[in-house]
């Protein structure tokens, strides 16, 4: 039964061959391969991690940018609002000022008119009185051409004054 009795010559050659193959492959194949695989695995996981980090960074930057944009927008709106209120205020102020000024001018004008009116009245009064005096003088001159009548009238007037007092 040659089948189940191992041949020692074959055993020896097999030992040598397999041992040699094991040794050679361990040194020149398996160790470099295992190291290569390991370092590749590490590189891949590192790259993945880096990609993840980069993605996160981009996300962060995006949110930051968005925030920034939002902030800028809000600021712009605020500025616009402020400008608007300022404008309104200025307009309002201007309006008020203008009104006040106008009022002042009106007031001044009114005073002036009144003064002018007074002056005019005064002047008119003066003129009128002057005229009246003149007329009166003329009338009186004519009336009192006669000396007796003068004295008589004086007497009358004096009497009038004295009764009044």
């Amino acid at each position: 039964m040659g089948l189940i009795t191992p041949d020692y010559g074959l055993v020896v050659w097999m030992l040598i061959s397999f041992g040699l193959v094991l040794f050679v492959l361990k040194k020149f194949a398996w160790i470099p391969i295992m190291q290569g695989l390991k370092s590749r695995e590490e590189t891949i996981s590192k790259s993945l991690r880096q990609a993840e980090e980069a993605r996160n960074e981009i996300k962060r930057l995006q949110t930051y940018n968005e925030e920034l944009a939002d902030k800028a927008r809000a600021e712009r709106e605020l500025a616009l609002k402020e400008a608007k209120t300022l404008r309104d205020k200025i307009v309002e102020e201007a309006k008020v000022n203008a009104q006040a000024e106008a009022q002042k001018i009106i007031d001044k004008s009114r005073i002036m008119i009144l003064q002018e009116k007074e002056n005019a009245q005064k002047e008119l009064a003066t003129i009128a009185s002057k005229l009246a005096l003149e007329i009166t003088e003329k009338v009186l001159r004519k009336q009192f051409a006669d000396k007796e009548k003068q004295i008589e009238y004086f007497k009358e007037l004096l009497a009038e004054i004295s009764t009044k007092n």
Partner: protein
């Protein structure tokens, strides 16, 4: 494995008119056994075979190295040695006495010849070394580009052995030191199995179906397991926990059983691989020999059965392709499990 050459071989001899009865057993054993020459084809009476180196050492004649062609296929003795084809020492090389008789005492010289199987092992070894050293060189260079060619073919297998055999069986901590052996044994078995399926030279030798070969492989597993066995491993053998004391003392039943297990595990590895591959080769050869059995009865019956035989052998070969891989996987997996047992931490 059967091949067209083999068919022609036996058909031609039967057509020679010798009317020699077809010897099925011899036919089968010739194809699954070892030989001192690598038979390729026989045309008529001319055997075409690759002569192989014979290396003999005997106390009387010393070291003798010559090619097996000197025996003329075993028909003639050379330098007082004869390649026996019959009798008690069939298939072996015997030392002859001065008058041409087989020696009474120690007729078998120390025989370290490069037989068909040894040559096949050499070829497979060189092939494996060439494949994996060239792949290894690619890894040494770094990996600025994606794997290509053979690297691409073998990398998933290497990763499979690492991630699905070694790490689950041995564990992250210890697996790395067993990887070289596991990878070597896997590819050695697989490539030798595959070469055994190729019908002509340099394939066709029944390497992994030879018990000497599987014995050496199992011996490696046994030695590595034993060397790496930690305190916990030996404690489990000598004083298995969880076993009632009366099974250990005064008659150490459990230790004996456990200790037997240490040896039966590699023996099972040896027999499983050997038997599977041998059976595969045998079945294929039997299908082919059917052709000649029927052919000896009637030529037309032989031709008729050849269709069935060839198709059966074809499917057997497909099956063997699968078996080649499965057996390599099983051997590697079981070795890994044994290493895992040897290095397991107490938990």
């Amino acid at each position: 494995m059967g091949s067209t050459e083999e068919k022609r071989d036996s058909l031609s001899t039967s057509e020679e008119g010798k009317k020699e009865k077809f010897n099925t057993v011899e036919f089968i054993f010739e194809h699954i056994g070892d030989s001192y020459e690598w038979h390729i084809v026989t045309i008529g009476h001319n055997h075409i075979a690759i002569p192989l180196p014979i290396i003999l050492y005997s106390e009387q004649k010393g070291l003798n190295i010559f090619l097996s062609s000197k025996f003329h296929h075993g028909k003639e003795p050379y330098r007082g040695f004869k390649w026996e084809h019959e009798g008690k020492y069939k298939g072996k090389i015997v030392e002859l006495g001065s008058n041409g008789e087989v020696l009474e005492e120690n007729p078998l010289p120390y025989n370290f010849s490069i037989t068909k199987l040894v040559l096949s092992i050499f070829i497979a070894s060189i092939l494996i070394c060439w494949i994996f050293i060239s792949i290894g060189r690619k890894y040494k260079k770094g990996f600025d580009k994606a794997p290509t060619g053979m690297q691409n073919l073998f990398e998933p297998i290497i990763l499979f052995i690492k991630d699905d055999i070694a790490i689950p069986s041995i564990g992250e901590k210890h697996y790395a030191r067993f990887m070289p052996f596991l990878l070597t044994v896997f590819f050695f078995i697989w490539i030798n199995n595959m070469m055994g399926l190729i019908p002509i030279f340099p394939g066709g030798a029944n390497v992994t179906g030879n018990i000497a070969v599987t014995m050496v492989l199992a011996l490696f597993t046994f030695v590595i397991t034993t060397i790496n066995g930690n305190k916990h491993y030996w404690k489990e053998i000598i004083n298995a926990p969880g076993v009632p004391w009366f099974l250990k003392f005064p008659i150490p039943i459990m230790p004996v059983v456990e200790l037997t297990g240490v040896f039966t595990k590699p023996i099972v590895l040896m027999i499983r691989l050997f038997a599977n591959i041998l059976a595969g080769h045998m079945v294929a050869i039997v299908f082919f020999s059917l052709i000649f059995i029927f052919g000896a009865l009637n030529m037309w019956a032989g031709y008729g059965i050849s269709i069935i035989s060839v198709s059966f052998a074809f499917f057997m070969t497909l099956l063997e392709l699968l078996v080649a891989l499965i057996q390599a996987y099983v051997f590697t997996l079981l070795s890994a499990i044994y290493f895992g047992m040897a290095t397991a931490e107490h938990h």
